[in-house]
């Protein structure tokens, strides 16, 4: 000790201070600072990702809006379905198919005819042909969210210009969803002839149920096709028109 001079003590003291300071910094302070920075970054990240009360309230409001939207859409959908679609439920595709038979064979044709007949100043010049409905319930499997499209084909009506325009517009008021396309006008008013294509879209009330096991036809070469085509038109069209058709197309008198 006696050999240590002042300068030695100063050097030793400074070195010790530096060592202690550096040791504490790297062993204690730096770890704490890093932990604090990590916690800060994590907090900012969560806040940035929407971890705020305001955001939570916004999302809750969105949920309420979504609930309201669901209610509105559902109500509008049910109203539209009641107003524009037949009651065809495909829970059981067999009964659904029968309902579709009634629609296509008995309901739709007279509905379209009556609509044209009730259009003021309009005369129907052509016949309306409804395609045969399917005789295979499994054909309805594809109509979960897509509509059943029934192409009526060309329809010709006559009338004056205003009546025809009103008639074309009036299809949107029918209690079926009808699409008219490519109307062309010929002739001389008030006997203009308007020809247009007509398609009907039917949305089933419920999505189709599971497929039905169907016994294979005895003769697999074309047996199914014959049944699918002939049976509905022969049987159900007779009910509609009151004529015995035996499966041949029914042609009634023009409605004017």
């Amino acid at each position: 000790m006696s050999k240590l001079r002042r300068i030695h003590i100063i050097i030793i003291g400074v070195v010790v201070c530096l060592l202690v300071g550096a040791g504490l910094y790297f062993l204690v302070v730096d770890k704490a600072v890093k932990a604090r920075d990590a916690a800060l970054v994590e907090r900012d990240g969560v806040l940035g990702a929407g971890g705020t009360e305001a955001n939570c309230n916004d999302k809750f409001k969105e949920l309420q809006d979504a609930n309201l939207k669901v209610l509105e859409a559902t109500a509008k959908y049910e109203k539209t379905m009641r107003a524009r679609m037949p009651n065809i439920s495909l829970d059981d595709t067999r009964t659904g198919m029968l309902a579709l038979w009634h629609e296509q064979s008995e309901v739709l044709g007279p509905l379209l005819l009556n609509h044209i007949r009730s259009s003021k100043g309009i005369h129907l010049l052509s016949s309306i042909q409804i395609p045969n409905p399917t005789a295979n319930p499994n054909d309805l499997q594809n109509f979960a969210d897509s509509p059943i499209r029934i192409d009526i084909g060309k329809v010709s009506v006559s009338g004056d210009f205003k009546s025809i325009m009103n008639h074309l517009r009036s299809w949107s008021k029918l209690n079926r969803l009808v699409l008219i396309d490519q109307p062309s006008l010929t002739g001389e008013s008030p006997n203009l002839v308007c020809e247009y294509t007509l398609s009907v879209f039917l949305y089933p009330m419920t999505p189709p149920g599971p497929p039905i096991d169907i016994a294979p036809p005895a003769n697999s070469s074309g047996g199914t096709g014959g049944m699918g085509g002939g049976m509905p038109s022969g049987g159900l069209a007779t009910v509609n028109t009151g004529q015995s058709t035996g499966g041949s197309p029914v042609t009634a008198q023009p409605l004017h």
């Binding site: 302070v29 704490a32 604090r36 994590e42 559902t74 074309l168 490519q182 002739g187 197309p249 029914v250």
Partner: protein, 286 residues
Amino acid sequence: MIKINLLPPGIFEARVIKRLIVLFSFIVVAIVAGCMYYTSTVNKATAGYKAETAIATDWKNKADAYKSQADSKIASIAPIDAKLQFVAQVDSFNNVYPKFYENLAQYTYHKVTYSQIAVSTDGKVTISATAPSLSDAGRYLLNMYRATDLFSNVSISGVPGYPANSSGGSLSGGGMALNSTPLSSATPALSQSGGGLALAGGQAPELPGLSSSGIRGGLRGIGAVASGISRSQAKHTGFSFTVSCTIKDPSILIPPSAPGGGSASGTPGAAPGAGGLSSGGAIPLK
């Protein structure tokens, strides 16, 4: 007075060293205490941040749960929305052609008689018309040129040269000479039996630059259809011509497509109009 220290420097060295040791000891203690204090401060902040993170995470979880529920609700009505949208599109589309014909009537000169209008899906409009004179046809054409909101292109064919029957135009004396130019392939023409389709306007149209009231003031062309028609027979003394126009926005003529692709009944996936089930016999009603 002069003070002279005659003692050697080493006399006080031990005392100075002791003081230095004490000084450095205090410095070391101060360093340690400062570090500890700073560390504790940092740790407090860290704990605060972690607490805030926990709260924020709770809010975030709640917000995510609400959002998930909302998305689920919205997704659940997507098919319904698609159906409703399709219904609305169909209803809207049913109004496209009547609106187009009515707009066309607004631009139609009242002395011109139409015999046929055909609109193809690509927006081509072919009009077969008859005018009593060249001047009337000119006025009609100038009027059609003004329909810039309706057509992007208007052309006329069948204007006669001299002599009239050598130029393609068909002048007629008594009866009406309908131009039998093939019309739109997408909309086959019905058989012509003479006569004109009158969409004529009820008032004489103003020529470009002379318009004051504006031709779009109302559907006066439609309102005057009846009177235009009553005169149509008398006007069958002119020449017939064909006007070809291109609708400004042909996309309005594209019918809406059903969600999921609606197909003919019983023939899922069949092209529209294929009539897959008609092979077994359709049900014609008249």
